[in-house]
């Protein structure tokens, strides 16, 4: 059976298995667990003590706790990834055997955080390096060892980039003559116009 929240593929076996684990806690506790998982997905960190308390009544072992966090994480992030609306998610989860009250709580939390989740996923998508900042300086060269009177402006550009490897940063310093800089600026403005046309 194809599920939209799984990207029009079959639901993975482990998800099916852990949905029955989720059904063991009350729907109220599950909604609170969802809130914790959403916090984790949005980069705000997860409070494992709270999670342990929520699952204590159902006597979850550490394996069960990890499994329920994992399955909720998967459902919520995969639904956001494939841009599934709350109603479709609700019907698909019920088809997989998650009780109605649990589904209602989950989908309400999902709909509330739907666009925040997608923003976060967009932010963490693969990027091969990033420009962090640009600083510049205009100098005026008066003279050099090759020529007594140079009298030319010179621009120094400092580019701070985040490298392709995560966690590496690089600083590049370039000096550009006035003519070359005019060409660079014109080309970049053309690129900017093209980007604006796409927005």
């Amino acid at each position: 059976m194809r599920f939209r929240f799984c990207g029009d593929l079959d639901c993975p076996d482990w998800v099916l298995a852990e949905i029955s684990t989720l059904a063991k806690i009350s729907s109220v506790k599950m909604k609170l667990l969802c809130a914790q998982v959403l916090k984790d997905l949005l980069g705000e960190g997860i409070d494992y003590d709270k999670v342990a308390k929520l699952t204590a009544d159902a006597k979850f072992e550490s394996g069960d706790i990890k499994a329920s966090v994992a399955v909720l994480s998967f459902i919520l992030s995969s639904a956001a990834k494939h841009d599934v609306d709350g109603e479709s998610l609700s019907s698909e989860l019920q088809q997989l055997g998650l009780p109605k009250e649990h589904v209602t709580g989950l989908c309400k939390s999902y709909e509330d955080k739907h666009s925040a989740l997608q923003d976060k996923l967009r932010e963490t998508s693969l990027r091969l390096g990033r420009l962090n900042s640009v600083s510049w300086r205009v100098d005026y060269t008066l003279s050099s060892s090759d020529l007594r009177e140079v009298n030319e402006p010179l621009i120094q550009l400092k580019l701070q980039t985040q490298g392709a490897e995560p966690g590496s940063s690089e600083t590049t310093v370039v000096s550009v003559s006035a003519d070359k800089f005019r060409v660079l600026l014109a080309e970049l403005k053309q690129a900017q116009a093209m980007m604006n046309a796409l927005q």
Partner: protein, 196 residues
């Protein structure tokens, strides 16, 4: 065959008290999962009123026992035989057996990770970009798939950036699917059956 425990690895007499053994068992498991530090030994030594070296030797002995037993997957009977040699009480022996049985799978998984020498697949991230224009040519449509392949070998991790066009990507998918199909052939199945 059982596990031979030489004098270097005999846990100390402090193992006479079962509550102590529990503490040692906990430290030994954590040490296997995350490594140990002098601080952990020191705080345990303070709690039990024994010198730190005794704690360290006890934990190291216990870790050795658990690792060797898990490595050879020895049976309950053989494990009890080995532990009998150390001369602990019935209660301690039973606790050690329980510790071994409950964590054997975990310990084997940890040990598997230690021997890995070839980089193995960990994760693949990808993005689909379309080049619309460049400095030299406007009005283009060039789809590109950029991927980052994450690899680990033991505790080191590395990543490689790879780029491909849709046609090559289809070819990669086709080749990998053929590799998967090879696992299902009768020839492969015959061999796998015989290994089990």
């Amino acid at each position: 065959t059982g596990v031979v425990i030489d004098s270097d690895h005999k846990p100390e007499q402090v193992f006479c008290f079962s509550s102590v053994v529990e503490e040692f068992g906990h430290i030994a498991l954590e040490s296997l999962r995350r490594g140990s530090s002098p601080k952990i030994y020191e705080s345990a030594a303070k709690k039990l009123f024994v010198p730190m070296e005794m704690v360290q030797h006890g934990v190291e002995g216990l870790v050795f026992l658990l690792m060797e037993s898990s490595k050879h997957m020895i049976s309950e009977v053989n494990f009890l035989d080995c532990v009998l040699v150390l001369g602990f009480s019935e209660e301690v022996n039973r606790f050690l057996l329980k510790l071994y049985q409950e964590h054997q799978g975990q310990i084997r998984t940890i040990m598997k990770q230690l021997i890995c020498s070839q980089p193995t697949y960990q994760n693949l991230e990808w993005r689909l970009d379309v080049q619309l224009a460049s400095r030299l040519l406007r009005q283009q449509i060039v789809p590109t798939v950029v991927t980052r392949l994450f690899l680990t070998s033991g505790t080191d991790s590395s990543s490689r950036v790879l780029q491909t066009d849709p046609r090559t990507l289809l070819h990669i998918i086709y080749t990998l699917e053929a590799a998967l199909a090879a696992v299902k052939t009768s020839h492969t199945r015959r061999i796998l059956r015989n290994i089990k």
